[in-house]
Amino acid sequence: MADTETLPGLSPPLVVPARRLHLSPLAAFGLAMLTIFVLMAVLAPLLAPYDPTTPNLRARLVPPMWVAKGSADHILGTDHLGRDMLSRLIYGSRIALSVGFLGVVLASFIGVSVGLIAGFWRGPVDSILMGAVNILLAIPNTLLYLTVLAVFGQSLLLMIIVIGCINWTTFARVVRGEVLSLKEREFIEASRSIGQHPVVTLLRHVLPNVLGPIIVIATLNVAALIILEASLSFLGFGVQPPTVTWGRMLADGRNYIATAWWLAAIPGLMITTLTLSLIFIGDWLRDRLDPRNAS
């Protein structure tokens, strides 16, 4: 039996000319910053000058070194318990990146599977799956996350699972739409007409052709999940202390806003820089991978 990949009309997906992968300055900035953040998370024990959770009451609320009364011992200052801000920020990146990336891996797995199945088989399966999407879209997500986390508890693993299980709707909708249009294409019909199992058709011919949009959504979704994790931690529903999270640092810092601005300002700046980097990378990927931008 002839392999469908040799059939005419079949173009290998995601083969992008090298010139189209040329980095824009913003994307280069985004990639460089993301690399720094990932290295920071991985090498946290080596990079952090102090233990992020040990209080030092003699050095409470020390400002950053460039501010009057600042000290070179604590480059970014200390918090209300005298813990080193730089060390806490370095360790906090671990939770932000873990929730962002692992949450997206789980969400995209569920969403892509749902989208492929709903788009390919249509009928009652499609109605039920898209009904589930509509239900999840109707509930303001933060409320749902808060309730579920309050009911089931707050650990890193649980947070990733909850986020993954709620956040898959965008992937499902986009993939379903792509599958609906791909289904009419000749190479998919060819694959079906030679009797290939539908799952083989889906995985070998449909999936590779929807990878472009998935990668773009996934990148932008990591940024959204990092903000979500920070929001949930800020509200007290994130991973619990002594684990350091940027959102919790911000919540603590809010109480000292009049006397120690750096406690709230610097963690927010970290979150914004990281999400900004991911948005730059996502925008660049969209320009490169979306066939509608090919011209």
């Binding site: 009904g131 589930a132 509509n134 239900i135 879209l137 109707a138 509930i139 303001p140 997500n141 933060t142 409320l143 749902l144 808060l146 309730t147 579920v148 309050a150 009911v151 089931f152 940024a223 903000i227 920070a230 929001s231 800020f234 509200l235 007290g236 529903f237 911000l250 810092g253 809010r254 806003i257 009049a258 601005w261 709230a264 300002a265 963690p267 927010g268 979150i271 914004t272 999400t275 900004l276 948005i279």
Partner: protein
Amino acid sequence: MINYVIWRILQMIPILLGVTLIVFVLLRVSGDPVLLMLGEDAQPEQIEALRLALGLNKPLYQQYLMYMADLLTGDFGNSLRYNGQPALQVVLERLPATASLAATGLLFAVVISLPAGIVAALKQHRMADHIASSFSILGQAMPNFWLGIMLILIFAVTLGWFPVSGSDKPLSVVLPGLTLGSGLAAMLTRMLRSSLLEVMQQDYIRTARAKGLSQSTIIVRHALRNAALSYLTVIGLEASALMAGAVVTEQVFAWPGIGLLAIQAINSRDMAVVQTIVILSSVIVMSMNLIVDILYSVVDPRIQHG
């Protein structure tokens, strides 16, 4: 048109059923409602009696049907935290505060994004475009609660122009409204810019220019009207995000709306109030989507619902 609206409302029913099912399951796994009501030191006989009275000894599907019957008669249960007041009443009392915050947020989003999007599109690749685009990307990247705290630091603590928190002064709504609307403003600016750029390439715009119409007439009467459809779509889709954003914003500014109430209710396991907020906010989100759909046909006469 009326048929279309009725059809859309009918379509909401299965979605609402799904929402109530999720809420029902969460209520059941969140802990024994009888123990929550009676406290940990209740006598076994008391517990059993209340369990029977509430129908908790029946199979789950029957419990769900009873629960739905209660909801349909407006009985959302009683709040544990607010002296046994009906949960619906507790939530409805807080609704106007959230509505005024959301309306202010939406107003800020439109007032910022309309000029910013138009200027960015008209001055493409010029300084004004770069500034508007940078702000809109920044607005998307920034967590809104952080923006809220920074606004408090600058405009309330340092300059003293606005109150730090609460809702008792006329200017109290400005900073929370700006915080809530910033993300939407950023998204709308980006979207309006790109759809205006697309519309401005069309033949009828060239014709309008050839007729000698002024730039402002072309934008307002031709381009903007055609870009309005996607603008409205984003507002409709973001209704849910606005409600979700209200939870965080209200927490930052101690704004006494249903977002703050939700956090307090979740923390004190006041599940009757939690379920009321989840169901009510879903209804609001769906209604906003419906209103946007109806507005489509006002903006674009080619779309005829019916």
